[in-house]
Symmetry: C2
Subunit: 227 residues, 2 copies
Amino acid sequence: MIRVEHLTKVYDTGIVRVQALTDVNLEVRKGEFLAVMGPSGSGKSTLLNILGCLDRATSGSYHLEGIPINTLDENELAHIRNRKIGFVFQTFNLLPRMDALRNVEVPMLYSGVGPRERRKRAWEALEKVGLADHALHRPNELSGGQRQRVAIARALVNDPDIILADEPTGNLDTRSGLEIMAIIQGLNRQGATVILVTHEHEISRHAQRVVHFRDGRLVRTEVIAEP
Amino acid sequence: MIRVEHLTKVYDTGIVRVQALTDVNLEVRKGEFLAVMGPSGSGKSTLLNILGCLDRATSGSYHLEGIPINTLDENELAHIRNRKIGFVFQTFNLLPRMDALRNVEVPMLYSGVGPRERRKRAWEALEKVGLADHALHRPNELSGGQRQRVAIARALVNDPDIILADEPTGNLDTRSGLEIMAIIQGLNRQGATVILVTHEHEISRHAQRVVHFRDGRLVRTEVIAEP
Ligand SMILES: Nc1ncnc2c1ncn2[C@@H]1O[C@H](COP(=O)(O)OP(=O)(O)OP(=O)(O)O)[C@@H](O)[C@H]1O
Ligand SMILES: Nc1ncnc2c1ncn2[C@@H]1O[C@H](COP(=O)(O)OP(=O)(O)OP(=O)(O)O)[C@@H](O)[C@H]1O
Ligand SMILES: [Mg+2]
Ligand SMILES: [Mg+2]
């Protein structure tokens, strides 16, 4: 399903040069639930952005369901992102001038879902994350954890094959965090492949396998007993 | 030091009306270390913003070292914020077009510190949070946890009397989180008053007292054994 070989990412802006990922090799089976852990700055978000077709590797290869992602142009990448991937960003990335409901509808605009179906599915997604009564709030009228949950609802609303979640519970109290993990785990059981970055040991135990990063390298793999 | 009585905050934008805080009564002694916990949306950031003079209560009173904060105008509030308070925002709020070093210098510009001293103290603050080698990165060239640590360095660089920290370890791995708590605890021992919002039980144990919020009300106080 996902195959990454000798993946390297260097950021070079002239002033600043950072080797964010070095020689990463990773395979993720269809339907697997993988957790990604490691210290701050160790390359987790960088990896997720490349897997999510939001950024390109500097060298190495990335195959998604056999498709060599490096060879695709921007339009093809956007198409894959929209059809296959649901992405929960570490910094939420909501559109500031739309309310929560419209923010959740955005992925469905790109995939051509009609207006009545969009509205219905957006309401259901917000109910699922406990935010139906905040649907008309804009992001600056929401708490940190509420914004995070809107970002989660938006990622799941197109029922994606692959869920990439960058610290989806970082701003949530324990109980909301467990509710979100239950939703994600439910989708995984229905067949979605899940790659989830987390700092929290508790959260990582929901996965079947955990890979650990340090200084841009994948240094350790941990197999977890059936959760 | 801090005295809040019958504090209520209502957000009313026409479309949306939310009672974010209801009848909150709280006293914080000089030099105390208080943790604030509660579910997502329970009013923690709202409280911190009012304590930090970034927002005004709808009703009730707030006295800071005997000064009735409700009666101050914008200039007086800004003066108090800059001289007395270091604020770590839940969403970091870094200036996107400045590098980490200049972001950390910002509070010192307002308090009239000279350029050489600013530069020196900004470097020291970044070293303290382990980011000296990222000083020339701008926020979009930093990981989530790195941005959070820049926000922390910026809050502490003026050696404030009061530290208000809104989930300062939410984006940090366990070890970086403990390093940050050690810094904050050190400042508390030197006399700073600390009010820290957290979702993490472990982190709350560093405080001397924990107040719990639910639906905008302070529902429970917990005294912790000497940490
Ligand atoms: N500007 C605003 N306009 C309207 N409602 C708001 C605004 N800011 C916050 N709220 C609402 O006030 C309530 C409390 O928000 P607050 O940010 O204080 O919660 P919190 O306890 O910090 O939550 P979290 O743990 O998720 O950060 C929430 O229901 C939120 O939707
Ligand atoms: N656009 C960029 N330009 C330059 N360097 C960057 C850029 N984005 C990230 N970096 C650097 O790459 C490294 C890895 O960043 P990344 O965001 O992947 O870390 P992370 O593991 O997600 O960290 P965190 O847990 O703090 O979110 C960091 O040292 C960061 O400073
Ligand atoms: Mg990250
Ligand atoms: Mg908050």
